[in-house]
Symmetry: C2
Subunit: 555 residues, 2 copies
């Protein structure tokens, strides 16, 4: 009989901010029982994933062992933690546990995918615990930018693990539970083996600020505005949405929620009882008959998403509502790195309309939902674990978090996605590297990141596409080759039409080509591709992608 | 005889940071004589300009009037001011004036394009002035992040214009001329009509810092490093490159310049006499025999450019040199908005190697080359123009700059690209809007931004591409349709091969199609496109781009 071991294996989230998915296993090697923490997604970009709708973790490793997966625990309802449950649960089929608000959001996803909603179980908060195989798991409330965020207290035969999920130290987060250091001292009182800890803000040197610092300046800003006021934030930041709505109400404005996610979140907040005293809202339709200077729009699209309400307002109108000279648009949000260009486009479009854009540069209208560097150090101190495992960060964040821990003598293990760490003993040991990666939701299909589909799209975007068709009858070309181009200039150096130059060179080749070449589709295709790429390079200085279609007739 | 007027017309740079190109005209309406200030470029991105090599201003308006263009003045040698002279000068043919260093860089571009280098004239600094039609233009030294930067003092029959170019108020810029408030007070003494002014840093609330604050912390950082040190900055920031090199030398390290732009810039600095006492460098080849802890690499690629030295080092090696655990990489630079993802990729790759990355977050290792908000206010005060024309900024920067001026009672005119402003009188008047835009250098070809070429590439990248070929003989389909896909998943909902499902649906349609449809290429193409898009949407949830090729045979 082999010895039991406790292992940690991140499948997503340790190497990026997004797409969280972590496994814990306990048992003899190769026979461990597993639990999963979080099953989130991340968002595509034009640089690396054009045309992709969503990016999900590659869960193949655990799918193959799903008979040993006892449960999935979701820490909170942000898309990078719960977003993939609809798309991927069918591959896993283990019960999902989450607190009421998170479970509600997960059930909406199950509904869309036709999964059995009874497989999502509503968990109570700590000190209640859920048994899942050899694990006992509790949802310990912790402050973050969405209600009912929880760190998971995972008790195992080898000791206690604290998996923070996303968190900050906020004594007064508005909506949701406050940071409670006594609770955490209590949880840690009998010793914690591993602190698996959010690393997002490890590079932010100052202590984090409380959500409660925002209502005053936001209220003041809205009260001082002359025209229509629109404000954006993440819809899931229910506390912020409420702050914005109350500021609008106090300024005597009618509050309008714009964007599907915004309405859905607030409805969920009300239905689950989390959100109380949310000001009355008016529909976009009714808003049309309210004077502009009595309107407060709260809209989706803080990251410049093309189809969100903010972007649509910046391009003209949204459900009949428009912005104009003298109006104000507030970003009660931070631009996530990589979204600067899309947010910039919106800001410039508003600038052209004469709309005053207010962003977070003053530091008055937004606070982060993640623990900053000194807050992380405080968490280390309170939990005092045997060791730290940084998660929820790009590689640089994880590495810096290990360094931060080292400053106070706490040892940390750098375990990016796919690193299997044996954490049975006092010192963590990397025991295996598992293939991980990304799965793309592309339209309605799940494809692997390495399938080449997206690579081909990027190539067409960079190089353009030439199609060559020709007919071969009895191994002789019938007529001339025909070229079509897409994404390429119509004329090049010779000033003749590019397609004509290409057709001429291909046709010349066909006239010279031997019967053996003409009889062999692969050879013919390769030769034509080479000719087209070289000719295009001479003409336009670019080597395009080339598709050759040979139709063979029997005479 | 119509009255003379003085006009201002930006063709680039007023609506973006980059691609600067401004026209001034004087004379009767429609018969003005022109000068151009700057002819720069900007850089493409995957979001909006995939596959494009460089973006240039659309100069068609002045090309059509080039017999009235008397001269082109280049304020300094940054690519966004001089970068398009090689590509576009052939369309203009007017003499180019620039100071020695800038002229040197422009001549290198002329050499590449085979233009007559004698058309680039080296100008002396203010108070010397150059006559160009009705204009007299002086190059007044002003501090910036590249040597010999100059504001242009443009004297016209209607008064004096000060066109700042890029500038900051730096009393001690290291290499290059210091900010000299007395000079500017002098230039402004007899009144300035218009201050046409850099707006880049209008959102930066604190006074700018001097280049001279950097040598001490950088020297300290390098002296304290244990392994190899590599540092990146813009190659054109010669003062910074020198600071880095001197820091390396003082720490007893051999200095290595990596990247073509880096070597080219430093060579130009030495050849033009601007750069003195630059430490001796060793070649990359010789560096291989120097101990790692005695090396200081100064490398290109501060913005994460894929092919630059920094990116190559992050992917493995560059000219045999590699980075590893314990080495340090310094970004003596700021990430330009939009480049966060590419810079992040490099930082994470270095993190995986165990290289310590130091960036500007401490505020110690980089200063901006542009005047901050209070510095702009100071410039307004010294020049005390009749009015301000903000330039060199996105729309939001220009708008904010007008607001800043208003705070001290200075009126400003918001004139984005294409806005023709009559500045003859005390108050500027917008008199026309001219079509402007962007020209793309795409491989070896110049294409218009609105040609649709890049739009098609983006569509292929987002939607994939389906090719349908069929043969029609005597208005009857010969055999079945043939489909090829590129950038699309191979199977969809039905689990059958996507191409087969598409071929079946197209073939079914062909069997049903009437002779009239089959005889009409356009109709046939439209119908097939519709079928392919619908079937693909059912199968994979995506509507691809479709190209249909019908080959017609006469039986």
């Amino acid at each position: 009989m082999s010895k039991n071991r406790l292992i940690y294996l991140p499948l997503g989230g340790a190497g990026e901010i997004g797409m969280n998915c972590y496994l814990y296993g306990y048992g003899p090697e190769g026979k461990e029982r597993f639990i999963m923490v979080d099953l989130g997604l991340t968002f595509p970009d034009m640089d690396t994933t054009p045309g992709v709708d969503l990016i999900l973790p590659d869960i193949e490793w655990i799918e193959k062992r799903r008979d040993r997966l006892d449960a999935i625990f979701i820490s909170h309802a942000h898309e990078d933690h719960v977003g993939a449950v609809g798309h991927l649960w069918g591959h896993l089929k283990a019960p999902i546990y989450a607190r009421a608000f998170t479970a509600h959001m997960a059930r909406l996803k199950f509904e869309e995918h036709g999964h059995d909603e009874l497989m999502i179980k509503t968990a109570s908060a700590w000190p209640e615990m859920i048994k899942a195989g050899p694990f006992n798991v509790g949802f310990a409330p912790i402050s973050h930018s969405i209600p009912e965020s929880s760190a998971l207290v995972i008790d195992t035969p080898a000791g206690r693990i604290v998996h923070t999920g996303d968190f900050k130290l906020d004594n007064n987060p508005g909506v949701g539970e406050a940071w409670n250091p006594e609770l955490w001292a209590d949880i840690a009182a009998n010793g914690v083996k591993a602190l698996v800890c959010d690393s997002t803000n490890v590079f932010s040197p100052l202590p984090g600020r409380s959500e409660s610092t925002l209502p005053e300046p936001i209220t003041e800003l809205v009260a001082g505005a002359k025209g229509l006021v629109a404000a954006t934030t993440f819809a899931s930041n229910i506390a912020r949405v409420k702050t914005l709505a109350v500021a609008g109400k106090n300024a005597g404005r009618s509050v309008v929620l714009l964007g599907r996610a915004m309405r859905r979140m607030i409805t969920a907040g009300v239905e689950t009882g989390i959100l109380q005293d949310f000001p009355a809202t008016v529909s976009p339709e009714d808003a049309l008959s309210v004077p502009r200077d009595s309107l407060m729009l709260i809209v989706t699209g803080s990251q410049g998403e093309r189809r969100a309400a903010s972007a649509q307002l910046s391009r003209g109108k949204y459900l009949g509502l428009t912005l104009k000279e003298g109006d104000m648009f507030l970003f009660s949000s931070k631009t996530i790195p990589g979204n600067e260009r899309s947010v910039g486009r919106i800001v410039n479009a508003f600038s052209e309309m004469g709309v005053d854009v207010v962003d977070d540069s003053s530091g008055l209208y937004h606070v982060s939902g993640h623990a900053n560097r000194p807050d992380l150090a405080e968490m280390h101190r309170i939990i005092a674990p045997d060791f730290l495992i940084p998660m929820h960060g790009e590689h640089r964040h994880l590495r810096e978090h290990v360094k931060l821990a080292a400053e106070t003598g706490l040892s940390g293990v750098l375990a990016p996605n796919g690193t299997m760490v044996d954490i049975s003993g006092k010192t963590p040991k990397v025991v295996d590297h598992v293939d991980t990666g990304r799965t793309y939701l592309d339209g309605a299909v799940l494809i692997g990141a390495m399938d080449g589909v997206v690579r081909d799209r990027i190539r067409m975007a960079l190089n353009g596409h030439v199609l060559v068709t020709l007919i071969v009858e009895d191994d002789q070309p019938l007529g001339e080759a025909w070229c079509e181009i897409m994404g390429l200039p119509e004329t090049g150096r010779s000033r003749a039409a590019l397609v004509e130059v290409l057709e001429e060179d291909v046709t010349q080749f066909l006239m010279r080509a031997g019967r053996k070449t003409l009889a062999d589709d692969d050879k013919l295709g390769d030769e034509i591709r080479r000719i087209v790429r070289n000719t295009a390079n001479d003409e336009i200085g670019k080597k395009p992608e080339v598709t050759v279609v040979v139709s063979r007739l029997q005479g």
